[in-house]
């Protein structure tokens, strides 16, 4: 099941710079997208979401952009902090269902 793809397994960014994490999807029926952050030995923690009727949602240092025509979304973290180092999962939900389809995750490392 490759409906949600995160093609970059890892990303390394200097503290204070912008982190951009990307996600692509194939199912045009997805209408809601989420980003989760996960530390080792913990469950995913919700970060930010976006509905398909929007193209941008912002919450503090986190902004999610949605390009429906390209079936692409991205998470921008600015400025990046060492505490942001974690695995970031993109997830999508199809209209009329509850289940989330997760990507494989991108490991972000923010170094001083």
């Amino acid at each position: 099941d490759q409906q949600v793809k995160q093609n970059s397994p890892s990303l390394s960014v200097q503290e204070g710079r912008i982190s951009i994490l990307n996600c692509d999807y194939t199912n045009s029926m997805f209408d809601y997208f989420l980003w989760y952050k996960k530390y080792p030995a913990e469950g995913p923690t919700f970060l930010i979401s976006i509905s398909s009727i929007k193209d941008k949602n912002e919450d503090g240092r986190f902004t999610v952009f949605l390009n429906k025509s390209a079936k692409h979304l991205s998470l921008h973290i600015v400025p990046s902090q060492p505490g942001d180092s974690a695995v970031y999962f993109c997830a999508a939900r199809r209209a009329g269902t509850d289940k989330l389809i997760f990507g494989t995750g991108t490991r972000l490392q923010v170094f001083p």
Partner: protein
Amino acid sequence: EPEVTQTPSHQVTQMGQEVILRCVPISNHLYFYWYRQILGQKVEFLVSFYNNEISEKSEIFDDQFSVERPDGSNFTLKIRSTKLEDSAMYFCASSGQFTEAFFGQGTRLTVV
């Protein structure tokens, strides 16, 4: 801040044994889920539960799996006869109507 609580954090069981994973969802949530993550793989949906019945399940969720909400607070996942390939992190999650899912910290199940 309310959170989803899972017990135990780690469960070791012999192949063929029954195991019950327990979860206490956030108290005012209406939707309950189980996901799992096999080591090195993506987080996969197992089942969703609403109004005391399964609302959706994946092909992974076969007859050896069952869920129950035995009282007003607990939500359990039972695996009747565990197999080696059931070894994974199992995450419980809950959500309100039209809200994001909040995940527990997970139960690491090791089948030997």
